[in-house]
Symmetry: C2
Subunit: 194 residues, 2 copies
């Protein structure tokens, strides 16, 4: 099981956002949707052993957690608009501190980054971290925390201080591209492909 | 300079397609848009040394070639809808066999896969190809041909018979994810990062 947790610093928590303006008024929901897509979609298949957990911090009710579980997701397609339509559906459900099902494999609750990090050991990406290709297979974590187009805040960094750090290459990449690279590394290790 | 050429077997060539239904009536234009996005976009930057050339084969006028040149593209954002809006703009321009500019860094003409392959030596992806990580740096090509959600046709395969073949890992991936992996490998080689 591999888990990606993605912070959407500006991603709206208003369940009436327009699917026609994901980058603008919805607060870079295009990028957030692509992180779900990169986590779960193979060509003609779903990664059943991956979850993607969104932590949405935009207004009006910051602190919404939406989890996509590849083992249970049904009838989602990989385009940004379709993924975003499920995020919108999740935001429309009154949620407390316990996960509620939105659709098969998709659930929502209110919560914090600290709670997500307490669920299991996460790693983060850092240009000065260990090259993921050089990490021992036993040291490759099963959960990664990523940020949207903004850097982690000082408060978030404080929660991450003890987490292992990995790097992916010389370029600074979008979170969805980072997920693609991480999954390729995990695919290769699991199958002993290289 | 790195070039990606992407065949959209079903991608519409009707310049009036709806931006609200990229996967359906526009013939998987969502995936085609993501290949442009994966080719050109860094976090907070554009890959100025990459071009992405689309070969659109859907009705009503199959054989439209649209080229995105990272060194000249301006004011394009990475969401599928924005990229698709430029594709739609290109399809609205009467085009002959010579490239016409659609917007900065984006041009359109009519043409064939054979013509694109004649421009420069391409490589293709194949699960039985050489692992890209094990290829000598001098052997990593500067142009790659990819397909959308469909396999190459027998006619396309005939044109590709002599092309070098590379593999990326054990999973069968979407074309946009393959581009992310190829660029990471190229980034690492160029910077001697690993």
């Amino acid at each position: 099981m591999t888990s990606f947790s993605v912070i959407g610093h500006t991603a709206t928590t208003d369940g009436s956002f327009s699917l026609n303006d994901l980058p603008g008024k919805a607060g870079r929901m295009d990028l957030i949707s692509r992180t779900v897509q990169a986590s779960l979609f193979l060509s003609h298949g779903i990664r059943e052993d991956v979850t993607c957990t969104l932590i949405l911090l935009g207004s009006p009710k910051p602190g919404v957690i939406i989890r996509f579980d590849g083992s249970a997701v049904r009838s989602m397609s990989p385009d940004e608009r379709n993924v975003a339509s499920f995020i919108r559906m999740a935001l429309g459900i009154p949620a407390g501190s316990i996960f509620r099902e939105v659709a098969p494999g998709i659930s929502v609750r209110r919560g914090t980054l600290a709670e997500i990090l307490a669920e299991k050991p996460h790693a983060v990406l850092d240009e000065h971290g260990t090259d993921i290709r050089k990490a021992g297979t036993d040291n490759i974590p099963s959960a990664f925390l990523l940020s949207d187009h903004q850097n982690f805040t000082p408060g978030e960094e404080a929660l991450m201080r003890e987490l292992p750090r990995f790097s992916l290459g010389p370029a600074v990449l979008h979170a969805d591209h980072a997920i693609v690279l991480l999954l390729n590394e995990i695919d290769r290790r699991r199958s002993e492909w290289n």
